[in-house]
Amino acid sequence: MSKTIPGDPAERLTGILSIEGDEHFDRGAMTNYQRTYRHLGLDKPLFYFSLHPRAREANLRDIERPAFRNNIKNLMYETGKPELVRSYFEAGKALSRAIRLHLDECDTATFWADFEHQINRASSKAEIAEITDNALLFMPDEQCGFRPFAEDWWKYADKIGSVERTFSWWLPKLSWHGTQNQYHNWLAGILSGDWGYSLRDGRSVGSKIRNSIGYTLSISFFSLLLTFAAGIPLGMFLATSKRKRWKEILRKLVYALYAVPLFWLATLLVVFFTTEEYGKWTNLFPSPSQIMLHTMDGDAGFFQGLSYLLLPVLCLASGGVAFVARQMEQTALRENTARYITMSRLKGNSESATIWKHLFPNAVFPLITLLGALIPGLISGSVVIEVIFNIPGMGRLMWDSIFGQDWNVVFAILMIGAILTLVGQLIADILYARANPKVRYD
């Protein structure tokens, strides 16, 4: 995914708008770009091996400028002789460096400057032939410092002009790159805690995520607590209570809560209950701007911090509460028809003893498996909640990074989201196995 995204990370990091956009680009910016390009390891091949046509080289990424890269690739496909094209390119590079170095010593500087410009842009046999033909006519006889380089280049240009592509140019060839490849570097970086750099401010991705993950984990943790703490009694009430009217009302409420979009609920609560716009009493909760100010200061005390988290946690937990309550109701109703419950009633146990001593433990432990289903929802929900309430957590960071096209951060957060989900599912499985002796993992 990170290789299909639009834009060039080295361009972003050096602040160059487009390395190919400007004809007369700044040479300082160019060296800067090349250094960044190599520093990011973009010159290395993508994977441990590559399968490619015989006509082209396995890795052309070590040519930093995209336009040069494309020219060379075209030439390789056209001639089917990658080694020759590579030597031609090296000769051209040397020549253009020499021309730039010795240009002032020459009387025919305009011709050579133009010549350098042309050889850097030639992308096909026909174009090279045109340059050499023109040069035959107009090349001055003057012996400048770069004359040997020009002759060297000329030799390869001639060879390219005369070479014919053989039939086997498209046959596949396997090249082995070893561990010097981008995937290996990325993986090694991930495993050793080096997640790369943010493309926006050059800070390390690891530190950006470390600063934000605490908020996400704490609101997710508290809303998970609230989900079970509120959902389980609610479900038990719906399953076992004798108060028909209350049950009906609550059941409808749970049903509605299950369908209400998280971002709508949060927006409504923010609109109506964080300002004094709709009456004195409606200013119940701290507003998102207050939350942002205080989390940025970092001087909010523990209880103050809790009060800021109250509304976000309430919102994030709402869907989960409804979900858990419905599941709890269903399992309790199913257990209610079991024979051990009838037995307990026949023995003369009180209704509350039957329910809380016999039914409840058996009905509640399957809910452990819901943990695995709830965690991805919580992490997804944290994006919405953090954006609405201005909490600088991981979801908010992801949202900001998407708008800032900061792909390193986006993909790192994607990875962490997956890891968190897997860990949650693992914990759910282990807890379930401990709670239910019938389940055994081989």
Partner: protein, 401 residues
């Protein structure tokens, strides 16, 4: 939720989605220009259906020459900017309008766009998103789930020769595709490759196979091997379950620059097909052991016949339940994305993008309440439709038993 309410919401939704251009449009339903009768609002729908350029600009330039005009019930399009009523005009407060006919019944947003017109046209976006993404997800999920549930890990047996042949054909096709892309082809070649490979695989398995098998039977190559379809499906579903869905959506949409409704639905369906596959697989897993399937096998019915004619009709109710919930989750996904400001371009009005504006200006409660209500109502009715079908289904099964 009562069935009548569910049905009512669905019908209203369908009606507004189908006739959005006639219900809310700044172009008149009908008018006379130079003595000739025109039907601008209807022509706009027609141009959208046939993919022609919109007549909007032409009619807006003829605004002064229109006679005997009959306007739409809401004389605003969702994009219409009413400058006189810009800056969040409340539906309850005074509005700067010439007559009650031009009142913004549900208020305006910051630019002066009518909220009710946005709601009506947003219902069309929601319908397309819901239907297209569910249909696409259903196509993939049901087919894969049915195959995995029916064949299991060993049921679909292939000759080793077929496997080898298919693998070679596919990898050659893949290599040629890479060559084409690297050499400077376009994505059209991908379609050609897919089609070509499929045809080759089919030809290989149907004709070449039988001849070669007879020839090679003495070499013991024709032994069969089970394809672990079920295992493959379960692992794939696990991969999709591991990453929080909103994260995947955000990352995917960030890569595609300003996606249209169709692209958006396909991306959402990418996340929904595992649900369909799971339901279908579970249903097929339990049904394939039933006596009627064994009877069909004894009658030497083909696998295709048993899957599509014998088992599929019984698996439709749970798939329908999944589809109903799928519509609501697709709409929820789209509106969440639009709410976050990622996804559609700014001109595309959807319920979520209207709610996004409420976030910018807390005092405009009407921007938060009404679009959210629409989303809520549609999701609620789709959920209760799903519950209704699943209740029907359980009674139906009892009757069969």
């Amino acid at each position: 939720m009562p069935a009548s309410l569910t049905l009512g919401i669905c019908l209203i939704w369908l009606f507004t989605a189908l006739f959005a251009d006639q219900l809310a449009n700044e172009l008149p339903l009908t008018c006379k220009i130079d003595g000739q009768r025109h039907f601008p609002a209807f022509r706009e729908t027609l141009s959208k259906v046939s993919g022609q350029s919109s007549p909007r600009i032409y009619y807006l330039s003829k605004k002064e020459e229109m006679e005997s005009v009959i306007r739409a019930p809401i004389p605003y399009s969702p994009q219409t900017i009413d400058r006189a009523n810009a800056g969040y005009k409340s539906p309850l407060g005074p509005q700067n309008i010439s007559s009650l006919r031009y009142r913004h019944w549900l208020g305006t947003d910051g630019m002066g766009r009518d909220v009710l017109a946005g709601l009506i046209h947003g219902s069309r976006v929601a319908l397309i998103i819901g239907l297209v993404s569910v249909l696409a997800a259903m196509l993939v999920g049901v087919l894969f789930g049915a195959a995995a549930g029916y064949f299991g890990d060993r049921g679909w047996r292939l000759n080793k020769l077929e496997i080898a042949g298919g693998a070679i054909i596919l990898s050659v096709g893949l290599y040629l595709l890479y060559l084409q892309l690297d050499y400077g082809g376009s994505w059209l070649y991908f379609g050609a490759w897919l089609l070509g490979s499929a045809v080759l695989v089919y030809l290989w398995s149907s004709t070449v196979k039988t001849r070669l098998r007879a020839y090679l039977s003495s070499f013991r190559i024709s032994r069969t091997m089970g394809i672990p379809l079920d295992l493959m499906l379960l692992r794939l579903i696990e991969i999709f379950r591991a990453v929080p869905s909103l994260f995947i959506l955000l990352a995917l949409l960030a890569i595609i620059e300003s996606p249209g409704i169709l692209q958006m639905s396909l991306i959402i369906s990418l996340l929904m097909w595992p649900a369909f596959a799971r339901y279908t697989r579970a249903e097929f897993l339990s049904l394939r052991e039933q006596e009627f399937v064994q009877a069909a096998r004894l009658l030497r019915r083909s696998n295709n016949y048993i899957i599509f004619r014998e088992i599929m009709p019984l698996a439709i109710p749970p798939i329908a339940v999944a589809a109903a919930f799928g519509v609501s989750s697709a709409i929820l996904a789209e509106s969440t994305l639009s709410f976050l400001g990622i996804g559609f371009s700014a001109e595309q009005v959807s319920w979520g993008s209207m709610l996004n504006e409420a976030r910018l200006y807390f005092k405009a409660w009407w921007l938060a309440v009404f679009p959210g209500m629409a989303i809520f109502a549609v999701i609620l009715s789709m959920n209760s439709l799903g519950d209704y079908i699943s209740r029907q289904k359980s009674t139906g099964i009892e009757m069969v038993n």
